[in-house]
């Protein structure tokens, strides 16, 4: 809550919802980086939490590292470097059969 206006602080990126205490937030951040790398590794990228705040450090195979504030910015930056967006429906991710749900 903001002391000046009495309204909740600006909502973060929508993906930050679902964790309302520090422990959950930290867990979410670390787990997210793990999942991210599953998506990114095939494209020569690597993401890690920068350690000092929200967002991610996105490194490409060339060693270039960019700090991005949220996931949306991360997809934007990787698409800019690749020339096309990373698509979770790419055949490399959908070729295995789904496990029974």
């Amino acid at each position: 809550m903001c002391n000046a206006c009495g309204f909740p602080t600006r909502p973060g990126h929508w993906t930050d919802a679902g964790a309302d205490n520090t422990g959950d937030r930290l867990r979410l951040q670390l787990r997210r980086a793990q999942i991210l790398n599953k998506l990114l590794s095939g494209y020569g990228f690597n993401a890690r939490t920068p350690g000092h705040g929200p967002g991610f450090a996105l490194s490409s195979f060339s060693g270039r590292t960019t700090l991005v504030p949220d996931l949306e910015a991360l997809w934007e930056e990787s698409a800019r470097q690749l020339g096309h967006p990373i698509d979770p429906l790419d055949p490399r991710f959908t070729s295995s059969a789904p496990s029974a749900q």
């Binding site: 809550m1 206006c5 009495g6 309204f7 909740p8 602080t9 600006r10 909502p11 929508w14 993906t15 919802a17 679902g18 964790a19 309302d20 959950d24 867990r27 979410l28 787990r31 997210r32 793990q34 999942i35 991210l36 599953k38 998506l39 996931l71 949306e72 997809w75 934007e76 698409a79 967006p85 990373i86 698509d87 979770p88 429906l89 991710f93 959908t94 070729s95 295995s96 059969a97 789904p98 496990s99 749900q101």
Partner: protein, 318 residues
């Protein structure tokens, strides 16, 4: 979990629908019946000379007219300014002076509600003062077939609706009405459909079964829209799902017309709603508020429903 603070945000209802679909008539009756309480009305007209405001003024507690440009494109700044003024006024009032926190935006017939949603979400002030309550889209039963056949905008409006109201239903034969309803259900399977005649609620009669219209693709290579329901297993946590969905929306946002559902997170059940690339800030529901947890509906085109499942499954395997 700490107690939820009182939500004092403005609740904005967006009223959309193609030109001449009866938005003003319907809204007048709703106001007369007291459906929206003492809501503040924002009327947007694409034309420079407004007409609708005179029709509504007698019924509305307070009204702002936004003339000279559609609020989703050229008149976007006017809309943002008007909403900011409303927020500013409210913040200067004491709790007792404050009227209703309901705001209704009657869009011009040329507006895409999803674009308005986006504009509000991207505004630094409005994003935490305004909450979108509902997108109601009116569909003119008499002209729907023509409009849906030829106008991309008309389809975009239907696709973004939370609730659809069919108007002028008394002017069409049952067979046409049945076909229009079948088409709307195909375009937007998750939104309930109501009917109205001259603004008054009308119960839809027993209709013959009908096939939806075979709508031609307007944009090049546009496939028909289809719903996919995904049950989220216990092995998929919010981190996995949110990373996956954010990538999916970035890559396929224009094809994913709507994503809707409830996801269980450590903080509680989250109500998730997205219209194309724009995701509304997920809302935390009180525990036990909904029976349908962990079920997300994707409505879109250009992909196989099973591919969504396979892809999500791939990322949930650690």
């Amino acid at each position: 979990m700490t107690a939820q603070p009182v939500d004092s945000r403005l609740r904005l209802t967006i009223l959309g629908g193609y030109l001449g679909s009866g938005k003003t008539t319907w809204l007048r009756h709703q106001l007369f019946d007291g459906a929206f309480g003492n809501a503040h009305i924002l009327v947007n007209e694409a034309a420079e000379t407004p007409v609708d405001d005179t029709l509504l003024a007698s019924r509305a507690a307070s009204l702002t007219t936004l003339a000279g440009g559609c609020a989703c494109c050229t008149g976007k700044n006017d809309l943002i300014t008007a909403l900011r003024t409303l927020c500013d006024q409210r913040s200067r009032q004491t709790a007792t002076e404050r009227g209703s926190n309901q705001v209704i935006l009657e869009t011009s017939g040329l507006a895409d509600p999803a674009a308005i949603l986006d504009a509000i979400r991207n505004d630094g002030v409005l994003v935490h003062h305004v909450r979108i309550a509902e997108i109601v889209v009116l569909v003119d039963a008499l002209n729907a077939a023509d409009q849906l056949h030829s106008e991309y905008l008309s389809r975009a409006q239907v696709e973004s609706a939370d609730r659809m109201v069919l108007t002028k239903v008394d002017a069409v034969p049952d067979a046409t009405l049945a076909a229009v309803i079948a088409t709307l259900k195909q375009l937007n399977p998750s939104a309930p459909i109501e009917a109205a005649v001259k603004g008054q609620p009308f119960s839809i009669p027993e209709l013959p079964s009908a096939e939806p219209y075979d709508l031609p693709s307007i944009a090049a290579g546009e496939a028909p829209i289809m719903p996919t329901k995904i049950d989220i297993g216990d092995d998929i946590d919010w981190a996995t799902f949110s990373v996956w969905l954010s990538a999916l929306l970035y890559a396929r946002g224009d094809d994913l017309v709507r994503v809707k559902g409830v996801f269980a997170t450590p903080a509680g059940p989250l109500l998730l709603q997205a219209v194309r690339k724009s995701v509304q800030p997920p809302e935390l529901l009180p525990p036990g508020a909904t029976g349908r947890k962990n079920q997300i509906v994707f409505i879109g085109r250009g992909y196989e429903g099973d591919d969504l499942r396979r892809s999500l499954d791939y990322f949930s395997r650690s």
